[in-house]
């Protein structure tokens, strides 16, 4: 958190809006503004992106003027573990299959908690997987591969 800004919420939100807005303008610069006598595909995106930059600038400037409450720390551990567990789930879904992907998701995801313990987590993973396979695959009939391509012989 930079100490020169008085309001870190506004400061970072401003930067985020400016970044998204600038990206919107840059990547949208080739879209036509006019088309067949009507609005082209570039019209609304460029206006919105420009507006977003302006709002971002306003928040950014305000962060040096108006004081705000301090911002809490960014919880790096839960963020990285939770996101990683979801990404791994997505990756394993087809290759290892639904059942294994679920077990991995529950166990890996549970690691993000400070109260993680192996035995109850494994029981939870087993129960949850059995329940989901029963409900989603058998009861609702969703086309999910219970065992993935790794098990194709």
């Amino acid at each position: 958190m930079p100490s020169f800004s008085k309001n870190s919420h506004d400061f970072w939100t401003g930067i985020m809006f400016i970044a998204f807005g600038t990206g919107g303008i840059l990547f949208g610069r080739d879209y036509a503004m006019q088309q067949d006598g009507g609005l082209g595909p570039g019209f609304l995106p460029s206006i919105l992106a420009a507006l977003l930059v302006l709002i971002g600038l306003a928040a950014f400037i305000r962060s040096f003027v108006v004081e705000g409450p301090p911002m809490g720390k960014f919880a790096l551990k839960p963020v990285s573990i939770v996101l990683a567990s979801i990404l791994v789930f997505g990756f394993l879904m087809r290759s290892a299959g639904f059942a294994i992907a679920l077990v991995v998701l529950v166990v890996m995801g549970a690691l993000a908690s400070t109260r993680f313990r192996w035995v109850p987590t494994l029981m939870l993973a087993a129960g949850c997987t059995a329940f989901c396979v029963a409900v989603f695959v058998y009861a609702l009939g969703l086309p999910l591969p219970v065992f993935g391509s790794w098990f194709d012989f």
Binding site: H9, D10, W12, T13, M16, F17, G24, F27, G28, Y31, A32, Q35, G37, G38, L39, G40, P41, L44, P45, L48, L52, I55, G56, A59, R62, M71, G72, F74, A75, P78, V79, V82, L83, I86, L87, F89, G90, M93, R94, L102, L105, V106, G109, A110, A112, S113, T114, R115, F116, P120, T121, L124, C128, C132, F136, L140, G141, L142, P143, L144
Partner: protein, 499 residues
């Protein structure tokens, strides 16, 4: 009587064994997940959406509205028992409800909430049945200019009603609109912001955004500081209110019902606005206004009725105009579209069974809530007591399965993780995600109507101010925005939210 025959058609549609079952399952699941602290209606609906994919449209909608009311009632239960409101509309319930629970009157508070919700639901159902047909007539007169202005008004209203910084809420709206532009442009066929990724060609799925920001983002946010929850009451007793209680809550319930019904129709309105306004009204009207905040039963009765009535009447703009007035309705629209139904005035005339079926199912859902929830309160208490470190892995599971089944594609799962990160960042920055979701869903519609309006007027932008209905809506939007930006009103708004 047309009203009766319409409602009759609705009952005919809903009163089949399977639809009643779906309604029951929806209410049950909605409550079960809604009572879990930190899970509001948006996350609950998004998580349970995949369960409805394989159902026929009417059953899916019946189940979803059951889920919606259930999750709302579940949120109130949690607010009363543990002072952990899962959503903004039960924040108000927690004020007096939790105090009642501390005094040992949890049963009374829960019963009041249930009775209030049911009465409000009944009144709102009738109001919808009466006003939906004329509104649909009106909607048929709406041109693209009116639709555009109405959506602008809805977005402005959601900024005004958002918590925290106005500027940041405004930015979230614009960002949401911009995210809605991702995908192939319908008019020109040009892919916008797709970065060559084929999955982006059809745009980003709103379920991915909703589950990422409200499901995953919320999980991470809750993991930040895990604290043990203490449930006030392990055994809820005294569920039946006495005659005196009933006398005391009758007037607040009726006031709340009508107030909520009126506020629910407004663009940007719905459950949250209704419960806030009802609370301050009851506080002013009540004889024991000083008791508010210390466990006043009126402080539970009024807002609980209002939020349920508002939740129901917010279906009106969606059913008649096809425009969501808040983020929950944005999800409902998405669900309809997945079912192949384009919401709008045509639904009522072309699919009357569906239309009236939904309306009647609202009432049935409310009835089931009363019958189901009070006897099952023991189960809900046990659900609340499930420690968070067992709960959240299951939330991850349901969200991940949910988005995967959207298109049977792992790309959506990865994208959800990204939106989870984004949701957490927004929570840290205190920039509210709800307006972003609404804007995201409205984005493509707004663009479409803007283009059509300008095409019809031969690119004359005056079309938006020359047509009276459109001009009025834009004027209201501008006035609302300027008023809240004025320093004096701003202070008042902050005070209102603190209250």
């Amino acid at each position: 009587m047309e009203l009766l025959s319409n409602l009759g058609l609705g009952f005919e549609t809903v009163l089949t064994a399977s639809n009643l079952l779906y309604c029951l399952v929806g209410v049950f699941l909605g409550t079960a997940i809604g009572v879990l602290p930190g899970l509001g209606p948006i996350a609950t609906i998004a998580m349970l959406l995949p369960a409805t994919f394989t159902l026929p449209p009417i059953s899916a909608l019946i189940m979803l509205s059951g889920i919606y009311y259930g999750s709302q009632y579940g949120g109130s239960t949690t607010a009363i028992l543990v002072n952990l409101p899962g959503e903004s509309s039960s924040v108000v319930t927690a004020l007096d409800g939790y105090q009642m629970a501390r005094k040992g009157e949890a049963g009374k508070a829960l019963a009041t909430a249930a009775i209030g919700s049911f009465v409000a639901g009944t009144i709102a159902t009738f109001l919808i049945a009466i006003f939906a047909p004329p509104l649909t007539e009106l909607a048929l007169k709406f041109g693209p200019a009116e639709y555009f202005s109405l959506m602008v008004l809805g977005l402005v209203a959601s900024v005004v009603l958002a918590h925290g910084s106005l500027l940041r809420a405004l930015g979230m709206i614009v960002l949401g609109l911009l995210l809605g532009m991702v995908g192939t442009d319908v008019n020109s066929g040009i892919p916008r912001y797709t970065f060559g990724i084929p999955e982006f060609m059809d745009g980003i799925d709103f379920v991915v955004v909703a589950m990422g920001m409200f499901g995953i983002g919320e999980v991470i946010h809750n993991l930040e500081n895990e604290e043990s929850r203490s449930v006030m009451v392990r055994q809820v007793k005294g569920l039946m209110p006495t005659k005196e209680d009933l006398k005391q809550i009758a007037a607040p319930i009726l006031r709340g019902s009508f107030l909520g019904s009126a506020l629910g129709i407004l663009p940007g309105g719905g459950a949250m606005l209704s419960s806030f306004v009802s609370y301050s009204l009851e506080k002013k009207v009540s004889k024991n206004g000083a008791n508010f905040g210390k466990g006043a039963i009126e402080g539970v009765a009024g807002p609980e009725s209002a939020n349920n009535a508002g939740a129901q009447t917010s279906f009106i703009p969606m059913l008649t105009l096809g425009i969501p007035s808040n983020s929950v309705m944005a999800l409902m629209i998405g669900a309809l579209i997945i079912q192949g139904i384009q919401p709008g005035p045509a639904v009522m005339t072309e699919q009357p069974a569906l239309f009236w079926g939904i309306i009647v199912s609202m009432w049935i859902g409310n009835l089931m809530l009363v019958i189901l929830n009070l006897p099952l309160i023991g189960i809900w208490v046990r659900m609340i007591m499930v420690p968070y470190h067992f709960l959240y892995p299951m939330i991850l599971v349901f969200c991940s399965i949910g988005v995967f089944t959207l298109n049977n594609n792992e790309f959506d799962v990865y994208l959800m993780a990204l939106f989870g990160l984004f949701g957490y960042v927004c929570a840290k920055l205190e920039a509210e995600p709800a307006p972003l979701l609404l804007a995201f869903v409205l984005g493509p519609m707004i663009e479409e109507y803007l283009r059509r309006a300008l095409l019809l007027s031969r690119s004359d932008p005056m079309v938006f101010v020359e047509r009276p209905i459109s001009a009025t809506m834009l004027a209201v939007a501008i006035v609302a925005l300027t008023v809240v930006l004025l320093p004096a009103a701003r202070k008042k708004r902050e005070e209102a939210f603190v209250e």
